[in-house]
Structure formats: structure tokens, C-alpha cells
Symmetry: C2
């Protein structure tokens, strides 16, 4: 009984640290999540971090993995309904996510593209989860599953990411992005059906 | 006279080194262009590199700048003609460039996204040159110049880059990309007029 209770409490403690990490990650880049910051916010020492995550890098990776899982879960489209309507709901959650987790999302991309293999894998898995959904849905499909369509959907995901990040970057720097969040959402959602006509 | 001749010869020597750098850069990442490699290929010493470029980093940046200028020049569309036709010619040069300079192009992107400010600026300038052309052409326009259209064209450039890199990555790793270079070219070129219907 004592062992079971200790194990549970240890899991809970680990989970609490991850929750804190994900909260910090939404407004901070990964490199800003330091031992000092964790000590200040939650009294976490280097020893405790090593105990639960094998060190700061292990903690940062666990945070990014949970953030990616969170993004994938939030952007899951409804199981049934019109394909474009389902895509719109999914992309609405995506725009909302990047809008509210800008710094963290940006640092995941930076880490992934700068050659950190773990971050690249997590980023690629997140990207694949989003693009694979277009083809694995049980209801009506927007595109037939072909190599050309798969490549096009990857291109569309890059387009969506670039447009949301550019829009958010303008907003963050105090520049008027020129279009509203609703217009942005319309453009990235309408892009996929429009692109599918070129196949 | 002697001074003028020396200066010219110095410029020529600098230019020759840059040409070599760009050639090396087409099949190697930036980090693989080392002092040792330059010494082996052209007898360039650390001192000579310092003299002309202030060091290896300065040389690498000068190589990337020349490569970016080269990409911008090669992908310049013809001055007149049908807008879609001109876009096709421009994108054909783009696909050809990435196809033949894959390693270098990839390392420019990696450097730009990993927080090297100089590389990011060169990359952004290259990207802007490609996207601004869509709006600054003297002949018929594919899109009206609005903030939404500017953002959409940036998204389209990200789509094109992602698709070419994915296609080339498959090809490089011996995986069948599933579509030919002609089909790829068709998809990224047809994407822009298709996207413009969503504005």
C-alpha cells in the first residue's frame, strides 16, 4: 500500500511539473525554461529535475511532447459532418493554439529546424498527425489519397503555419497584420479545397 | 597603375574564392565548408580567409549571400507575357535550383531558422524578393496587392519550399517521391492561381 501510494504521488508530482512546464512554455521559448526559473516558480531543484526527467533537457523535451499532444488533441476535428466544416473547426483550434502559445510554438519550430533531433521528431509527429487526419477521416474526404495529394497537404500545412506565424508576429510586434483572425482562419481553411482543384 | 592592378587582382581573387564557396555550398551544408576543406581545394589558408572575409564565418555568409543573389537572378520571370506563364518559368528555375543545390539550400534554411541573424536576414531577403515579384510585375497581375494577398503569397512560398524539399528529400534518400519533377512543378505553380480564388 505504501509503495503504491508513493508511486502515485511521484507520478502526480511529475505531472504537476509538466503542467507547469507547459504553462511556462506558452509564453516563453524553450531556452528560457531554466533551472533558475523552475526553482523560482515551483521550488524545483536540479536534483528533483534529474530524478523525474534525467535533467533539464529531458524536462524540456517532456514539456514539448506534452504540448504537441495537447495541440493534436485540441485540433481533432469532430467525428462526423461536412468535410470543410470539420476542417474549419480543426483549423480554428489550430489558430487559437498558436495565438495563445506563440513563444513556445515558435521555439519548438526553431529547435526542430536547428538540428535538435528529438524536437524535430516531436515536431514531425505533430505535423503528420495534423496532415494524416485529412486522409484517415471516416467521413467524406476532401482529397483522394495519392502521393501528389499527400505532398500537397504537407505544403498546405506549411502554408497554414507560415500564415499564422506571420500574422501573429505582426500582432506581437505591434504592426497591424492587416487582416482579422477570422479572415486569417478563412484563408487557411479555404486554401485546402482550393488547392485540391489543382490535382 | 600598380595599385589599380593589385586592387583588381585582389577583387578577382576574392571573387574566385566566392565562386568556389558557392560550388562547394551546392553539395555541402554550410558547416561542412571548413578551413581544412578550403585549404585542400584551393590552398586557402586561415590568414587569407581572414584577409578577404574576416574569417570563416564571414566567408560562409558571403557565400550564402552570393547563392541567394544567384537564386533571385535565376528565378527572375520574363518581363512580359501571360502571368501564369511567367510564374511557371520562374518556378521552373526555382525547382531546378533547389534540385541542384539541395544541401546548401537546406543548410541556409537550417541556419536561418536556428537563430543565426545574418542567415535569417539573407533568407528573408531571398524569400521577399520571390514573393514581392508577384506584386511588382509591370504586366498583368495574378492578385491585387492587399494585406490578405501579401500574406497568402507568403504562405504559398512556404508551401512551394516545403513541397520541393520534401520531394527532393525522398529522392535523395532513395524513396520514390511518387510524382515526377514536372508534376511537382505543375502543383506548386497552379497553387497560386487556385489560392487567389479564396481572397
Amino acid at each position: 500500500m505504501a509503495t503504491a501510494r508513493t508511486r502515485l504521488s511521484s507520478d502526480q508530482r511529475r505531472s504537476q511539473l509538466l503542467d507547469l512546464g507547459v504553462r511556462l512554455f506558452s509564453t516563453r521559448s524553450l531556452s528560457e525554461i531554466s533551472i533558475d526559473l523552475l526553482a523560482e516558480r515551483a521550488g524545483i531543484s536540479r536534483g528533483l529535475l534529474y530524478h523525474y526527467f534525467g535533467g533539464l533537457a529531458g524536462f524540456q523535451e517532456a514539456v514539448v511532447r506534452r504540448a504537441a499532444d495537447d495541440l493534436i488533441a485540441r485540433t481533432a476535428p469532430p467525428e462526423s459532418g461536412d468535410a470543410v466544416e470539420r476542417l474549419l473547426i480543426s483549423m480554428e483550434a489550430y489558430v487559437e493554439y498558436v495565438d495563445t502559445h506563440y513563444e513556445g510554438y515558435l521555439s519548438l519550430i526553431t529547435g526542430a529546424k536547428s538540428g535538435n533531433e528529438t524536437l524535430r521528431r516531436i515536431y514531425d509527429e505533430g505535423r503528420s498527425a495534423l496532415t494524416d487526419r485529412i486522409f484517415t477521416s471516416d467521413t467524406d474526404h476532401l482529397l483522394e489519397d495519392t502521393p501528389a495529394a499527400r505532398l500537397l497537404v504537407r505544403g498546405w500545412a506549411a502554408l497554414a503555419e507560415e500564415m499564422v506565424l506571420e500574422w501573429k508576429r505582426d500582432e506581437t510586434s505591434g504592426t497591424d497584420p492587416g487582416i482579422s483572425r477570422e479572415e486569417l482562419l478563412h484563408l487557411i481553411t479555404a486554401a485546402l479545397p482550393a488547392l485540391s482543384t489543382t490535382l
